[in-house]
Symmetry: C2
Subunit: 282 residues, 2 copies
């Protein structure tokens, strides 16, 4: 760990801002780079960051020992490509990307000697964006997943772990990038694909007055940031397509049982789903 | 309204018990018929009902002016078939069934002159069953839907409405049986079909530790009473099959966009779903 608890965050949106807030509270000195000067001014005024710049950040980057990238995946890869010549030896950085294989492979391949990227995914978020909505309260119930490769070192892993501990995540664990992307394809992307498709299937907004909690719970995540999610879906599309196929086959199986009037078959599905769902109770 | 606020409830499970509790609190005299003597004894001891019998209920039925049937749909139809000869002229009764066409048509067709069935659906429930879990608190946020036909009278409608008011439903409305079944096919049955199919698609219980709120919200309703729901699904299968087809087409459309790498097309779906979902915010 860098002894001075000093960190540079690139991208001061909801997640970057929430990291900044949580680390500032723990006594870290937080610098930030973002295109949006208003976001930087807001964060500085609120004590979320110590210092922020929107351009001429070369010196700030060159001086950094620890960084967090809180950008969309493609922008993250592009940023590193463009500015990696500034990185000092000994720099360790992590990210917040919701997909891993697509960012970890290209970035680890392009880094100069002595610079380490330890990838991680904080499974936290809100349905709103921007530093104005940042809050480190989103981390307390959440998982923090570290996805090391053979290029990572104990120092890199320790940095990711300390970060998660300082931010107060409920649960810290490690997966390979491929395991992560498969898991996220099921527990997050497939559920969002379903909720969005349900809303797109037909315009049933006139039914709003009749809906209960179960419909609201199922479709809450259909309110979605289209730029970020289209990127996440496409980065992980092979996995997501397989998950969609597997889910569709199960739903078609149910339809077949309805057509056949197969009550025993339906009951069997309900019993299976009830038993499996119990494993997900907290 | 029967001036004495007296009612006979057939079926003292979760819903029947919750009706009994709510009406007792409002000063109604509540009688109950149930096969389960333990449930009756429990309800009597807790002051949920005044009187309950498991058999030899002929006199109790013959004396009733107002009744509520809180049975599964098929059992409800069968009960009326078997005991309708006991009904006195002037009897008005309602039900709690989650599907309407399949119970309203046969029952209204078989009733003796002077006996009225005004159908209704309280859109309330819990993931647990039995009178031991009954609570009238489930009605406060819920919709009460009355589905009258040309066979119903102002007196029948008034009874259903008073019942809903006494039980404290948030919202009372009227739909035709067909409108009701189409609506319920979308907002309730399709969502349950999706949640169950998601759990049945593959055994991903080992992923429980990685799941967040959105997965839990979406699959909460996959814990399901297999006897009741297989009956509700089959009673409304034509509607449900159409809804499954429409939803599957939307999901396949998304898959096609993933295969094509059609980012603009995905963004369009996300924008549509976000806009439509806003209509469902409370």
């Amino acid at each position: 760990m860098s002894k001075q608890k000093k960190i540079l965050i690139v991208g001061l949106g909801l997640l970057g801002g929430s990291y900044a807030m949580g680390l500032s509270k723990k006594g870290w000195q937080v610098q930030a780079i973002d295109r949006d000067e208003y976001a930087l001014a807001y964060a500085k005024e609120k004590g979320i960051i110590d210092q922020g710049v929107s351009r001429d950040f070369e010196e700030m980057v060159a001086a950094a020992d620890r960084m967090v990238f809180a950008l969309y995946p493609a922008a993250f890869v592009k940023w590193v490509e463009q500015y990696k010549h500034l990185f000092r030896p000994g720099l360790i950085f992590t990210d917040v990307s919701g997909v891993k294989c697509g960012v970890v492979e290209p970035i680890q391949a392009m880094l100069p000697e002595g610079v380490e990227f330890i990838a991680s995914h904080p499974m936290a978020g809100r349905e709103v964006s921007g530093v104005q909505n940042a809050t480190d309260a989103i981390f307390a119930p959440a998982n923090f997943i570290i996805t090391p490769t053979e290029k990572n070192t104990p120092a890199g892993l320790a940095f990711a772990r300390v970060l998660a501990e300082e931010l107060g995540f409920a649960h810290i664990c490690q997966l390979s990038c491929a395991e992560h992307d498969r898991m996220i394809g099921y527990v997050s992307q497939l559920t969002h694909a379903i909720a969005v498709s349900l809303m797109c299937a037909s315009d049933n907004t006139h039914l709003a007055e009749y809906t209960g909690d179960s419909f609201r719970d199922l479709t809450r995540i259909a309110r979605i940031n289209e730029r970020m999610w289209s990127e996440l879906f496409l980065e992980n599309r092979q996995v997501l397509i397989e998950e969609i196929d597997q889910f569709t086959a199960a739903l078609q199986g149910m339809k077949e049982k309805l057509i056949q009037g197969d009550r025993a078959g339906l009951e069997e599905m309900f019993i299976t789903s009830t038993r499996r769902r119990q494993a997900f109770d907290r």
